[in-house]
Amino acid sequence: MSLLHLVVLAPFVLAILVPFLFKYIRQVHTGWFVMILPLTLFIYFIQYLPIISRGDTIHEQQPWVPSLGMHFDIYLDGLSLLFALLITGIGTLVVLYSIYYLYNKKKEALGNFYVYLLMFMGAMLGVVLSDNLIVIYVFWELTSLASSLLIAYWFHKERSRYGAQKSMLITVSGGFAMLAGFSLLYVMTNTFSIREIISQADVIITNPLFIPAMLCVLAGAFTKSAQFPFHIWLPDAMEAPTPVSAYLHSATMVKAGIYLVARLTPVFGAAPQWFWIVSGFGIFTLIWGSISAIRQKDLKAILAFGTISQLGLIMSLIGLGSAAFHYDVAVVGTLYYTATLAAVFHLINHATFKGSLFMIVGIVDHETGTRDIRKLGGLMTIMPITFTVALIGTLSMAGIPPFNGFLSKEMFFTAAINATTLDIFNMQTLGILFPIIAWVASIFTFAYCMLMFVRTFLGKFKPEKLEKEVHEAPIGLLIPPIILASLVIIFGLFPNLLAYTIIEPTMASILPNVLAEGERFYVNIYHWHGFNTELFMTIGVVLFGALVFLNLKKWSETTFFLKERDPLNWVYDNSLVWIVSGSTKVTNMQMTGLLRDYFVFMGVFIVGLMGYTMVKYNIFAIDLVNIAEVSPYVFILVIVLLATTVLLPFISHRITAIIATGVIGFLVALLFVVFRAPDLALTQLLVETVMVVLFLLAFYHLPELRKEKFTPRFKLTNLLVSIGVGAVVTLTALSAHAMSYANPIQSISEYFIENSYELAAGKNIVNVILVDFRGLDTMLEILVLAIAALGIVVLVKLRMTGGEDV
């Protein structure tokens, strides 16, 4: 148990204390107590920066279930540290923001809010810091759970519950697939430790389980990171309070999938399938998200689709970056790992500008009472600070210099252009698609950035549509976005501040073994590359983006723009309905509530199962050699017995049927006599008599209404099933008899015959077996009788009075 373990567990511990703080210290907003923790953790993680940037890693061990290979091991390298800093840093800002956002201490259930938020924070730290796949999975599901709880924070709203359920269903299904993938990895490598799995990467790739494991893991990563077609939960998750959207659905949780893909790139990255799936789905998500975003009328929905699109961008870059495994860096230079560099850099940038934009949208919502861009406008002069911050965030997102978004976008274009020069996996022909899609998607990105910004802050102020008197937000709400926006500027102006400290070690952990021993990535990000293709692409993006935005009015009446919701929601909503109606149908079909149907099912199942087994293992063995001679008595008895049995279904009078049953019983007793079983015969006679008496008694009590005679109805199914069961049982008996001769097993009856008098001092072997050799059976059988009798007494005497449904 090291300090790093405590770091992961600290949020959970604080989450336990939060309700007490909320209940007993009412004067102070609970958020202030919560804020201390992420701040402390952030400062703590900063201390690791020098160590990590030297290229070292930290590994702390803590056994959890050692017998199953589950260790709560913590592994801190560049990638983990980057995420840990994002989680704690933005976590601090979000908590600060939420203090002012959820300012009403009486109305808001703050206890719940901060418990969920801390739970999420701890789970997220667990995901990024763990080295063990199972531990990652545990924390992964915890983030899903916490996310759902936070989305449904205002649980009295129907939309919130819908969004929470949707995100839960999608992310948990993905998480479950991921667990399957992890298990397959375990099967292949016999370890859950990521580092050990990476060390066996070259063995795994030849394993037949490689592709299933990869697909399962990717399913988990794609559902969490809102990649196409699993992105539909993210826009509906916008029903959460804005701090939650800013934290979970832009900066941290949705990047868990990115983290996982980046983390497992060394394992799977060398496979062409990985390259194509990750970069293909990523680039498609990019364009799908950016096109969907301009259709939205709600600011948060625009941001949600914006997030989807940017996540697709990062994902595709990681996919493209995996090409580096196929080249020798010493020969081709930095060309192929630019994509990875761009991914890491954009990951940081996106967290900063998207977080600030969400907070800005929250402020606008908070101060005007609406997020609908049709009602907003002209807020520039009323909310100048908000406006400034929004300008910075938007320009960064659109990719305009001198902000950090520009740099990462340039690198993205570089990586996309590099993709065309790759000579692996058919990239010579299909690679050209990457820069084209990237460019078109960037145009739409620019368009929705402008749409969002212009419609909110420029134009005419429309106070008549707003419910509140609009004024600038309180300073507490503004500090977090201001900090994020200044980071946007700082990272934009001095990108190399990040390059040496965090980007290089992060790349080293995504692409290990690419560099020779002792070498490091040398990252140098700068603004001016000269007049190259990327620059012209950016100029084109600005021009065409402005064109798209200016013509938006013309297109806004088309059906494409009127439909805000993603068409894939139709699939989700309907499949939910279909699952329910389908399972209802299936249940109604089989659960008829009629005992006779269930008997038919059982009969069919017995015939099917036994018949199949007999045919499959070929165990028909009818042997007529080892058969005893049949005496004439037996012949006559069996014939009468058969005749009575066959007659039974055709008897239309109940009393006659009962008497016929009695006849069968007495005939069986006679058979016992013939087969020399006097005890059995006596018992059978007496029991049969008592049974008939009981039948007649029960008969007397039949209700008045049902006393009419009846003829048993004929049903072909029933006949077939009963014939089938009879045939199967007969065949089984015959085969068993024949086989017992083929493979003789010594009978234990010899022992009883020899020892009944010697050991038990009795000559009646049956009785000796019953009371001596096997006395326990007898004891429990009389217990059965006793229970049956008491049951009858209870049923008859303790009659319920009302119309109870038992």
């Binding site: 007496l686 009646n764 019953l770 009371v771 006793a786 009798a789």
Partner: protein, 141 residues
């Protein structure tokens, strides 16, 4: 409408005793000849049932004031008790013993612990049969 059932009553009085004796014989003969607790119990129950059928239930209840529920319990106790007794002497549960003992009047008698066990079976069977039949028969709801 009251019928005169003199014939039935007279014959029942004689036959019931014969059946009862036969059932006792079956019970004791069990260890060496066909019979035993189960059959003996059923036979006793049959004899008592004959009494219940030919006379009315109320008067027989006065004559035979048994509580059949208690009889079941006692029977179970006998059966379990035999097993526990062998345990107390350090043998496995339900180990049976036998011994030839000479009594003053009866002479040499073969005693086995299987007998109290069988007695338990006997009592339970009698109790169960009569309890269920009488409960159902008395039910007038």
């Amino acid at each position: 409408m009251k019928k005169n059932l003199l014939m039935l009553h007279t014959i029942t009085r004689i036959v019931a005793f014969i059946i009862l004796s036969f059932s006792v014989f079956l019970f004791f003969a069990g260890h060496n000849n066909p019979g035993g607790g189960f059959i003996g119990g059923l036979m006793t129950a049959a004899a008592l049932l004959l009494l219940y059928v030919s006379f009315d239930i109320k008067s027989i209840k006065k004559v035979i004031p048994f509580n059949y529920t208690t009889m079941i319990a006692v029977g179970m106790l006998f059966a379990i008790g035999t097993g526990v007794a062998s345990m107390l002497r350090g043998f496995p549960f339900l180990t049976q013993f036998d011994k030839y003992v000479t009594f003053p009047i009866l002479g040499k008698v073969h005693l086995t612990t299987a007998l109290p066990f069988d007695l338990g079976v006997y009592l339970v069977v009698v109790g169960v049969t009569l309890l269920s039949i009488l409960t159902i028969a008395e039910d007038d709801a």
